[in-house]
Point group: C2
Chain length 149, copies 2
């Protein structure tokens, strides 16, 4: 039963498959799940975003990363404005079903709206956040209309 599948990651993974693999995801009260994009090959963490059921279904179906933009309240097909989409090589679910991992190939090698490879470019050093990674491309040349990811 999918009801059982929601309560235990172990049951999801080891027992009978749920009628729908999307039911194995433990969606939060807003219908979202945390999604992490990791670059294939380098293993670099590129970004963290949210997905709703539709976003995850489309991602699995089409092989291109689709998130849910909480700020815009709509599906966010990664790269629709920046051109920096993501080809999904692997999808993983964690043991309690509340986080999804996407192993991706990042178009242009840039995931962040700041023009950096990864959104995690700030590193804690001696009590302050320090920019640790370079801007690879001017955001102004990435976004024709408006900045933002």
């Amino acid at each position: 039963m999918s009801g059982d599948a929601r309560t235990g990651g172990e049951a999801v993974a080891a027992g009978a498959p749920p009628a729908d693999w999307l039911d194995a995801v433990r969606w939060d009260a807003a219908g979202l799940v945390t999604a992490i994009a990791q670059e294939a090959g380098t293993g670099r963490i590129l970004m963290v975003a949210s997905m709703n059921r539709e976003a995850l279904a489309e991602t699995a179906r089409g092989g291109r990363a689709v998130y849910w933009s909480r700020s815009r309240g709509r599906l966010w097909r990664k790269g629709e404005e920046s051109g920096h989409g993501q080809a999904v090589r692997e999808l993983r679910l964690d043991c309690d079903g509340d986080a999804v991992l996407l192993v991706v190939e990042q178009d242009g090698g840039i995931a962040c709206h700041t023009g950096r490879a990864s959104c995690f470019f700030s590193r804690l050093e001696a009590g302050r956040w320090v920019v640790a990674d370079p801007v690879l491309k001017d955001p102004g040349s990435i976004y024709r209309r408006e900045p933002g990811r």
Copy 2:
């Protein structure tokens, strides 16, 4: 101003440091932030959890991963029951301040309460989640009292 720091990751990272680096984190309504643990060296994503301000402060201070257990409603010093703690080598913040990345050395090479290296052991294959990683240690021998991470 820390108020400004909360609204823009770029300002946080590039401008004057906030009075307190913890103010640069965009805590959610529950006072939590998403925390990802990645294994140093391998780059493997080990787990995703939450941190409150106290957990992140203690993690940075002590160099050992401390999370906030939502199910227990208390600080969760990773490894306190399992022995599988995490030594933190690096802390990173993403561009909009709502996710923290911990690069860690994982005690025992096991992060998951199921006895696996990573909590992301389920992989989507042909419409179902399949266990892709082996159990390295019987959870019954990890937890003397009760299972759970």
